[in-house]
């Protein structure tokens, strides 16, 4: 019998054969050589532009200027002055409606008077029906009179019921009264708290060269979300049934599966030309059909790219047409990954087609659906081509999204720094969206 406790045979001493292996046989250099192109590409075309745009956004760079200087976060937010937009001034309150109406009737005989007040200011008051109603204090007497006469003569005076009494309110229909500009926040607060003597709806408007102060920026941001979520929802509603259809067995299924990706693979610069004609204001084939089918009259044909509501519809339509094949194919991949036996078991278990879709197919496709949604959201959120070719952001910036707006400001207008700042706003928003989607995916797995 062999003694199992005996020491094992001495192991052969292995001397590490360092650099005995030929250079070409070694794996490490080959590995580095293989990832080098990727590293070069990423650093040259992704990292460098990204860092460069961060740098540019911190400068006052302009196209044509030889040198630029560092201005900190001025491109993101820079306030030069504040203004107050005021409306709905409460002139006076009365116990009954009749008295209030009588007061409003006296307005045409009303006057604006001024008197010196505290701190080298003039106090303006309305003199109406033997009542003196102070309304504003300002340093310049003429300004006080001008504002007072505007309120007295140009605004609509309405009687509004208000908690047991009736208020006479001066309402500006078109543009509210502008007070200011004020250089500092302190001056603004003084006007709101001390100098404006009537109760009114006030809103602060900031003027400045920063992106945040730009009134077009919130519009572009809103449009970007409208565009992204509009397209994604429609893509899902079209993509899911398309994928289910293509997952069935029928003749010509393979050909159809191939054909469906055509919108996705045609360069958008080419397909958009067709869409430009389809959405043309005069020659639109959609209008032609609608008129011929008697749905609309030739007089009110739709101006797809010129009307502010239809313009957003049009760019969403083109993006959906282009993007739904991607969604379809990804969902189809998810559907094909479900084993036949699972569906058969569901049938034996007694699930109807609808129940199979709700309880079995949907949950099993969901992870891959989220991946497709993630990609699709990124494509749409950063999409420039579709909008630029179809509407160029118009009409009146109604389809302006962040990417087109950044291009407009940065390249067309030449404010490179501000353009870079606009485009960088996409980064944190996308980061948050991607974070939540990945979080969701991780929980599923």
């Amino acid at each position: 019998m062999r003694d199992l406790t005996a020491p094992a045979l001495p192991a052969e001493v292995v001397t590490p054969a360092r650099s005995r292996v030929k250079f070409l046989e070694r794996e490490r250099p080959l590995g580095y050589a293989l990832i080098l192109p990727a590293i070069l590409y990423l650093s040259l075309f992704i990292a460098y532009p990204f860092i460069m745009s961060i740098y540019l956004s911190l400068t006052d760079a302009q196209a044509g200027n030889e040198r630029w200087s560092f201005i900190g976060l001025g491109n993101y937010s820079h306030v030069s002055s504040y203004e107050i937009l005021a409306n709905d001034f409460v002139i006076a309150t009365f116990p009954t409606e009749a008295v209030a109406r009588a007061f409003v009737a006296q307005r045409s005989q009303g006057k604006v008077v001024t008197a010196p007040a505290q701190g080298a200011r003039f106090r303006g008051s309305f003199l109406i029906a033997d009542r003196t109603i102070p309304f504003l204090e300002m340093e310049n007497e003429k300004d006080v009179v001008f504002q007072g006469e505007t309120i007295l003569q140009d605004l609509d005076w309405e009687v509004r019921p208000e908690a047991g009494s009736y208020a006479v309110v001066a309402h500006a229909k078109e543009s509210p009264i502008t007070l200011g500009p004020f250089a500092t926040r302190g001056a603004l607060d003084r006007m709101r708290k001390e100098q404006l003597l009537l109760k009114a709806d006030t809103r602060v408007k900031t003027n400045g060269t920063g992106v945040v102060q730009d009134p077009n920026f919130p519009l572009a941001l809103k449009n970007t979300f409208k565009y992204t979520f509009g397209t994604e929802i429609v893509k899902l509603f079209i993509g899911v049934p398309c994928a289910m259809l293509l997952n069935r067995r029928f003749g010509g299924r393979r050909i159809l599966r191939g054909l469906i990706v055509i919108p996705w693979v045609i360069p958008i610069a080419i397909s958009a030309q067709a869409w430009l004609w389809i959405l043309d204001s005069t020659y639109s084939v959609i209008n032609w059909c609608l008129v011929n089918w008697g749905i609309i009259t030739p007089a009110n044909i739709i101006n797809f790219r010129g009307d502010k509501d239809w313009a957003m519809f049009s760019v969403i339509l083109v993006n959906v047409w282009r993007g739904f094949p991607f969604t379809t194919i990804v969902i189809l991949a998810g559907l094909t990954a479900i084993p036949d036996e699972i569906i058969e078991r569901a049938r034996v278990d007694g699930a109807s087609a609808f129940q199979r879709f709700i309880y079995i197919i949907s949950p099993m496709v969901r992870p891959i659906l989220m991946v497709s949604l993630l990609f699709s959201v990124i494509f749409s959120f950063t999409d420039f081509n579709t909008i630029w070719i179809i509407t160029k952001g118009g009409p009146y910036d109604q389809t302006q999204v962040l990417s087109t707006y950044a291009y407009q400001i940065g390249v067309n207008a030449g404010y490179l720094g501000r353009g870079a700042a606009i485009s960088l706003f996409m980064f944190p928003i996308m980061a948050v969206m991607v974070y939540f989607m990945l979080q969701f995916l991780r929980r599923e797995a």
Partner: protein, 361 residues
């Protein structure tokens, strides 16, 4: 009562006739095994009973009611699939409860049934896990459990053990058999493994090329195979076959094998059929190294080609003048490769098949 009757059931896939009009009656609470090589139509038959495959011709009745055109959910059946087909996104509990929830059973009853079945199958502590957190054997149990919860009249099994490793398969085999005794369901079980068929079933249905070759208890099909195919399919190692011709010598029937070996038969009814071409068959178990006093043992000299030890037994491949054959003998016999040895065929246990029809004579 959940007896299953198949009447001239046919299945056609395009030009191919996969199931060629089979007739089968499975009694209530019987455990019947459909067995055969791959492509013999056994799985297709099971899927037609389940309602997953349309029937091209004939009639299927469950509990006396024709279900030929009913969807699976109206057939009073439950099924265990080869790949288990567990819903990966549901917990074990929901996997087992799903079919009951679809039937809108009261929550309390669903819970009771699931926990009872989980206890029987030893799944109690895994109820909140997802299928991918379970081992192969546990998944198998969940699949069986989900089918048991249904309390359906007929349980269908589609090669449920083929994905398990050998040890677990033997274990589950006994467990399923035990389950059959406690569950009052008719069971129809498809397998290609003749050992599973022999060990588990009340009756075995052997299929080949879309037809049923024989239906019988395990012992019947082992002892009295109806065709050469059944004889070759049932038993391990398989039966040895030699071509030969019937002959008569000294007023007794004999068979003359190719190569001239003449073996005296134990049967008197074949005396008149001299010259008939037959296939002579004998199982490896009935060939031994000495006659042991058996009256119908005949001597066959042979050379040993190969010896495969199995433990207690060895399988010996040997060549005699009629051809190659296998023998199962005890390892202590100590035979070796290239030994010249006289084997003894127990002619009481010999089979004869018609060479044309392949039917047993």
């Amino acid at each position: 009562m959940a007896d299953v009757t198949l009447e001239h059931v046919e299945k056609r896939f395009g030009e191919v006739l996969a199931v060629r009009g089979i007739d089968l009656t499975v009694k209530d609470q019987e455990f019947v095994i459909l067995v055969g090589p791959s492509g013999c139509g056994k799985t297709t038959t099971l899927r037609m009973i389940a309602g997953l495959e349309e029937v091209s011709g004939g009639d299927i009745r469950i509990g006396g009611r024709s279900v030929t055109y009913l969807p699976p959910r109206d057939r009073d059946i439950a099924m265990v699939f080869q790949s288990y087909a567990l819903y990966p996104h549901m917990t074990v509990y929901r996997n087992m409860a799903f079919a009951l929830q679809l039937r809108r059973l009261p929550k309390r009853e669903i819970d009771g049934r699931v926990r009872e079945v989980a206890d029987i199958l030893g799944l109690g502590e895994h109820l909140e896990r997802k299928p991918r957190q379970l081992s192969g054997g546990q998944r198998q149990r969940v699949a069986v459990g989900a089918a048991l919860c249904r309390q359906a009249g007929v349980l269908l099994f589609d090669e449920p053990l083929s994905n398990l490793d050998a040890k677990l398969r033997v274990h589950m085999r006994t467990e399923l058999k035990r389950l059959h005794h406690s569950v009052k369901s008719t069971m129809i079980y498809v397998t290609h493994d003749q050992v599973e068929a022999m060990t588990m079933g009340d009756r075995i249905v052997i299929m080949n090329h879309g037809v049923i070759c024989q239906i019988g208890t395990p012992l019947e099909v082992y002892d009295r195979p109806a065709t050469q195919f059944v004889a070759s399919f049932i038993g391990s190692p398989p039966m040895n076959f030699f071509n030969g011709e019937l002959a008569t010598s000294d007023g007794q029937a004999a068979v003359v094998l190719e190569g001239g070996l003449r073996l005296r038969l134990a049967r008197q009814d074949l005396v008149g059929s001299a010259g008939r071409p037959v296939v002579f068959g004998i199982r490896p178990e009935y060939i031994s190294l000495d006659p042991n006093g058996r009256p119908y043992a005949v001597k066959v000299p042979a050379v040993i080609d190969e010896v495969e030890p199995l433990g207690h037994d060895v399988i010996v491949s040997a060549t005699c003048s009629a051809g190659v054959f296998q023998v199962e003998i005890e390892i202590y016999a100590g035979v070796q490769r290239l030994d010249h040895i006289d084997f003894w065929f127990d002619m009481n246990r010999a089979y004869l098949f018609d060479r044309e029809t392949e039917c047993a004579i």
